[in-house]
């Protein structure tokens, strides 16, 4: 074992990993983080903490990670390359490890155009694959990107995201391969609705053996309503929502749609468990964390291992 990460431990034991997500608040109130954390306690193995998601200013990911850590939860520090250069990123990696964070998720980050400060500059000194390389170099070789030696290596388990539904499709498995070669140990995917297309991607990943070194955790997001399903199909770049699912959501009365969304999500998790190479699920219940326990339970994934 390279780290004290719970995700690493469960994967090493051949277990099925369940992770979820906590978006930090747009303010300084730690109670918001604690409330969300409380909902996820004992229900998931680790909790991703987003990093100024959709380029909207929020409490820093590292701070919210520490709040969750103090509650006994296992945080995954999300880090985007949009806002910090290599100096700041490496500095925060050292800080995270020093504060007992064991997992990091390396991301490009949404363009600032989508957020509340579209006037801002972006950084992109390094990209997500280079960030993976940087973390691995710091941890495994004890060296900074600049080549200087580190006293006290950061023991972080390294993950990244991948969107099997973005274009061009034919390089999507190869791109996961590049992340694996860079040292990435787990992948959390974009929300999966098109099972057929995801299975094809997973086949490509397994054919090339990428899944053996880099565990794929399949991403799911329950629909709250038929409106949300349509919105995601139309407005979220790189999101593939089959019409059949939208029709199914529309087919039930408005007040029953949330329930139907949960039911679909549970079915999806059960289908994903059957797909060769899938090592876990990542449940992104956006501002709907209260439903995560119900989803995990209905999917038969409780209790979680210690």
């Amino acid at each position: 074992m390279k780290t004290e990460s719970r995700i690493e431990r469960i994967l090493a034991g051949g277990g099925f990993v369940v992770t979820s997500e906590c978006g930090p608040p747009r303010g300084a109130d730690p109670e918001v983080v604690r409330r969300k954390g409380e909902l996820l306690r004992g229900v998931v193995d680790a909790v991703n903490v987003t990093d100024n998601q959709t380029s909207v200013v929020r409490m820093s990911s590292l701070s919210a990670c520490v709040i969750l850590k103090e509650m006994g939860l296992e945080p995954v520090l999300q880090m985007v390359c949009r806002d910090r250069n290599r100096i700041a990123l490496q500095s925060d990696l050292l800080g995270a490890a020093a504060l007992g964070i064991h997992n990091v998720l390396c991301l490009s980050g949404d363009h600032q155009k989508f957020g509340d400060h579209p006037q801002g500059k972006n950084v992109y000194d390094i990209d997500s694959i280079q960030l993976i390389q940087t973390v691995c170099r710091m941890r495994d070789e004890g060296k900074f990107l600049g080549g200087e030696e580190i006293k006290g290596k950061p023991a972080l388990f390294v993950g990244a995201a991948e969107n099997p539904f973005a274009d061009p499709f034919e390089i999507r498995a190869a791109r996961l391969g590049k992340k694996m070669k860079a040292g990435c140990e787990f992948i959390q995917t974009q929300c999966i609705y098109n099972m057929e297309r995801f299975s094809r991607w997973m086949e490509m990943v397994c054919e090339r053996g990428f899944h053996e070194k880099c565990a794929v955790l399949a991403g799911v997001t329950p629909f709250k309503s038929a409106g949300m399903a349509s919105y995601m199909k139309k407005n979220v770049p790189g999101m593939d929502v089959p019409d059949g699912l939208i029709d199914r959501m529309k087919g039930v009365a408005k007040e029953k749609q949330a329930e139907e969304g949960i039911r679909i999500c549970v079915e999806q998790i059960q289908q994903l468990q059957e797909i060769p190479g899938v090592r876990g699920v990542h449940i992104m219940a956006i501002e709907w964390e209260a439903k995560v326990p119900e989803i995990v339970k209905a999917a038969g994934l409780l209790p979680r291992p210690d």
Partner: protein
């Protein structure tokens, strides 16, 4: 490459000029002429706009039109030495480089820009220009199928595309091509897909603006 720019709004130009209405309006016969913002023709248009406006306001003014071969070479800038003294202000229609060179040559005269310099690009069709280069100082076009991800990816990703690439377009808007989609298409067409498997390492940005203002000295060309 060509430097591309946009003419500033008339209102902004008039506001910047303020009470300085004896104007030497200086065009440039290079890039800004090709992209139709600061050549002889555009000098004529802006001069007419200014004259009409100040005439309507009942104000005194004098607008002198003059277009130089280039505003980025001292030998041409020097040609206006005899006329500069007659005006309150030089309003340059060149790119930012030209404006600055004129300003550093005529140190006692205010020099104002009439153009926003935007990018180094190409002409796609009559009236359409598109960015291609950011002058990073260390070209990698051999690695990326002849498409520059630094200039053309909204995140300058060296190992793209990101998850926002959809149907060949960038997540920032549906009019912008995804540079990495173009790169993959070009690598496929030119039978170099093995290039895609290579990870481009973190870049040394010192050759670009991050290393500070750049200067190039060619001893072999000096007089």
């Amino acid at each position: 490459d060509m430097i591309v720019g946009d003419r500033k709004d008339f209102k902004e130009i008039v506001e910047k000029l303020g009470t300085r209405r004896r104007v030497l309006l200086l065009g440039c016969n290079e890039c800004v002429t090709v992209c139709g913002v600061g050549g002889e023709r555009e000098v004529g248009v802006l001069a007419s706009e200014l004259r009409l406006y100040w005439k309507k306001e009942g104000l005194d003014f004098e607008v002198r039109e003059h277009t130089l071969e280039r505003q980025c070479d001292y030998e041409y800038i020097d040609q206006i030495r005899g006329m500069v003294g007659d005006y309150d202000v030089i309003l340059s229609m060149a790119c930012g480089a030209g404006v600055q060179y004129v300003a550093e040559t005529y140190r006692t005269k205010p020099v104002l820009p009439a153009v926003n310099t935007t990018f180094l690009g190409v002409t796609l069709e009559q009236g359409v220009w598109s960015e291609r280069c950011q002058g990073c100082g260390s070209c990698i076009l051999d690695m990326t199928g002849g498409v520059c991800p630094i200039a053309r990816c909204a995140k300058s990703l060296l190992n793209g595309p990101c998850g926002g690439s959809s149907e060949g377009k960038c997540e920032i808007d549906k009019e912008t091509d995804c540079a990495w989609h173009l790169i993959v298409d070009r690598l496929k067409e030119s039978d170099q897909m093995e290039r895609y498997e290579e990870i481009l390492p973190a870049r040394d940005w010192r050759t670009g603006r991050d290393g500070g203002p750049r200067k190039r000295v060619r001893e072999d060309l000096k007089l």
